[in-house]
């Protein structure tokens, strides 16, 4: 009889394990990366790690936030860096929905905002010492550096997933509800809003008064940032997830085309395609523009360098990895954030040689 009880217990425990991804704490989103040029702030699951850009070493385990691993922390949004070493990061856990303002030097919270009851997915924007944080409840919240709520603006019935961008005079926020908003930073009042053909996941790129962004239908838009008028739009193959990368007159963006991807270079003034490069992996992240090359990453773990005429220069493969995060340039390094490795970040030089990897100490 005891055997039967044991069997039943283990059968049900197995079912529980199976349904909850075998007991592991699976990553529910891709990591968030922010840098101030010297330090890298990596939001990856239960911690925000502070890593030296020069050698990939963690500044100190004592600067992690939180100091001790906590199953109620699910930190994936890129941190927003404020004045005086303050960093803002929201919790995407299903059990805790706090927004933390943390002293980046010590990993100690200075203030916490707990009024939102849904996960924080997107990173916040910093402008003139104030924070603009898109929340899981569809509101955009603005806080002063000391944690005072300045205003909140209801923008969506769905969670806000996209980091706002600014030109200094307006704050622009894209939503999964197919709408792009322009807001006044002081009050949150809407300047204009523009509905497009599908959800927008990647933050817009902003240059010379023009907003560039793509939708899940694969339509790439250029909007007048002052008025919200469409300057041009063009249809690409696949879905657009990332933020377009600008290089003077050229716009670079990748798409998800089934399980493959396409990498486009387009004229930023007209939207006309200059060249397309097909990749066997989907391109979800945005691209990184360097002086003589452009780097994109794929869901199949490839880091691909192209010259500006669309010819591959070098590539690095990270087998069994998926890369969803836009690569970042820090000095003479290219920072890539894969998912699936024992390491959480890898830095390459401009010729694709590996410089360092970052694996958190246990």
């Amino acid at each position: 009889m005891k055997l039967n009880r044991l069997f039943l217990f283990f059968a049900l425990a197995s079912l529980a394990g199976l349904l909850s991804a075998c007991g592991a704490q699976p990553a529910t989103n891709w990591p968030g990366v922010t840098t101030n040029g010297e330090l890298i702030f990596l939001s990856s699951g239960q911690h925000v790690y502070t890593v030296q850009a020069s050698d990939g070493l963690e500044v100190s385990a004592g600067t992690r936030f939180p100091l001790e691993a906590d199953a109620n922390h699910s930190l994936y949004a890129p941190v927003a860096l404020g004045d005086d070493g303050l960093m803002l990061v929201g919790n995407a856990s299903q059990a805790n929905h706090d927004l933390f303002a943390v002293d980046s030097a010590t990993g100690t919270p200075r203030w916490t905002f707990s009024e939102v009851k849904l996960p924080w997915i997107a990173g916040a924007l910093t402008l003139d010492g104030n924070f603009y944080a898109p929340a899981g409840d569809g509101n955009l919240y603005s806080f002063s550096a000391d944690g005072q709520l300045r205003w909140k603006q209801e923008l969506s019935e769905h969670a806000l997933w996209t980091k706002p961008v600014t030109d200094g005079s307006s704050v622009y926020l894209a939503t999964l509800d197919h709408v792009l908003y322009s807001l006044q930073p002081e009050t949150g009042a809407k300047n204009w809003q523009k509905e497009v053909d599908n959800g927008i996941v990647g933050a817009p790129a902003l240059a010379d008064g023009t907003l560039y962004f793509g939708t899940l239908s694969g339509t790439l838009y250029a909007l007048n940032a002052q008025t919200g008028d469409i300057l041009w739009q063009t249809q690409l193959d696949g879905n657009i997830w990332g933020t377009p990368a600008l290089d003077g007159e050229t716009l670079y963006i990748g798409t998800v085309y089934g399980s493959a991807g396409k990498f486009y270079a387009l004229n930023a003034q007209t939207g006309v395609t200059a060249w397309v490069y097909e990749d066997e992996g989907s391109i979800i992240a945005g691209a990184l523009v360097l002086p003589d090359q452009v780097i994109y990453v794929t869901e199949k773990g490839r880091v691909q360098s192209m010259n500006k005429q669309g010819v591959p220069v070098w590539q690095q493969e990270l087998p069994k990895n998926k890369i969803y995060v836009t690569p970042i340039q820090i000095g003479d390094s290219i920072l890539v954030t894969p998912m699936g490795s024992e390491f959480l970040m890898v830095a390459y030089n401009f010729t694709g040689a590996q410089k360092w990897t970052f694996t958190p100490a246990k």
Binding site: M1, N4, R5, L8, F9, L12, L15, A16, L18, L19, S20, A27, T28, N29, W30, Y76, A92, Q94, A95, K117, L118, P119, I121, E157, H158, A159, W161, L176, D177, H178, D197, N198, G199, V201, T215, L216, S217, N239, W241, V256, G258, S259, S282, I284, E299, Y324
Partner: protein
């Protein structure tokens, strides 16, 4: 392959229902009822096999064999198999339907989680799962019309664990998880064979343990996972009770702790 054959079709059916009714909570309920309806013949077969097995285990012949060969497991198994064959009972008749339903449960669970897509990474799976021809059935099933899925249903966000916040309390009340636990308990009790509740045989004890473990397990799931799953559990439990009631197999005496003698053999044989 699992995605291709199970999760993707389930996800698309769920999305199609959502496109037609415009409410994701209602689409979970309707899809649960459809699955329950489609698996009803399997379930009816399971109930019938269970009843036949129960009846056999109560029979004098079976008890005599158990007693006679209690020290010879091999001979006991041979004799039991002989009786099964004579009476045309498959010893796995009540297990196989459960095993068939098991992948459906897992697949449906995964399709709900996929369709809710609570983060951008989860949305990548959903976007890839949507059949392009779905919009030929109704324009509201196109990708642009489907996304974002409106996950609000009644007071809850179906993509998040449900809690009701009461002023003055520092924690939320998991109402849905409690309902899941209760309905699972009630369903297990009501659908337990009459002989199981009162007897001391192994099947009865296993059933009684299921009546404790299952409500706790599903309560735990509902407490920690997306509330869309809890909506599925509650609907499935209520539909299960209704199915048993339609087959005349609901055993109210188990729920209220009343003793009830086992159903007469003739009743079981008719499969009523």
């Amino acid at each position: 392959m699992w995605d291709l054959l199970i999760v993707n079709p389930f996800t698309n059916i769920l999305l199609l229902i959502y496109a037609l009714v415009g409410n994701f909570g209602v689409s979970i309920i309707l899809f649960t009822l459809i699955i329950r309806l489609l698996t009803h013949p399997i379930m009816a077969q399971q109930i019938k096999s269970s009843a036949a097995m129960q009846e056999l285990m109560q029979s004098e012949e079976f008890k005599k064999i158990q007693e006679k060969y209690k020290n010879d497991k091999e001979k006991l198994a041979q004799e039991q198999m002989r009786i099964y064959q004579e009476r045309g009972i498959s010893p796995f008749g009540s297990c196989l339907p459960t095993l068939i339903q098991f992948p459906i449960l897992i697949g449906f669970y995964q399709s709900i989680v996929r369709a809710i897509a609570a983060t951008p990474m989860q949305l990548t799976s959903l976007v890839r799962s949507v059949y392009p021809w779905l919009e030929n059935i109704t324009p509201s099933a196109s990708l642009s019309a489907l996304i974002p899925i409106q996950s609000q249903f009644l007071w809850m966000d179906l993509g998040q664990p449900e809690r009701i916040l009461i002023p003055g309390l520092s924690f939320g009340i998991p109402v849905l998880a409690i309902i899941v636990g209760l309905t699972t308990f009630v369903q297990t009790k009501l659908t337990m064979p009459p002989s199981a509740s009162g007897s001391n045989d192994q099947t009865a004890q296993m059933n009684q343990m299921m009546g404790i473990y299952m409500p706790l397990l599903l309560f735990y799931f509902s407490l920690n996972f997306a509330s869309g799953l809890a909506v599925y559990f509650i609907t499935s439990n209520l539909a299960g009770i209704a199915q048993y009631a339609a087959l005349g197999k609901v055993n109210w005496s188990n729920l209220f702790g009343m003793k009830k003698s086992p159903a007469p053999a003739t009743k079981t044989k008719t499969g009523k």
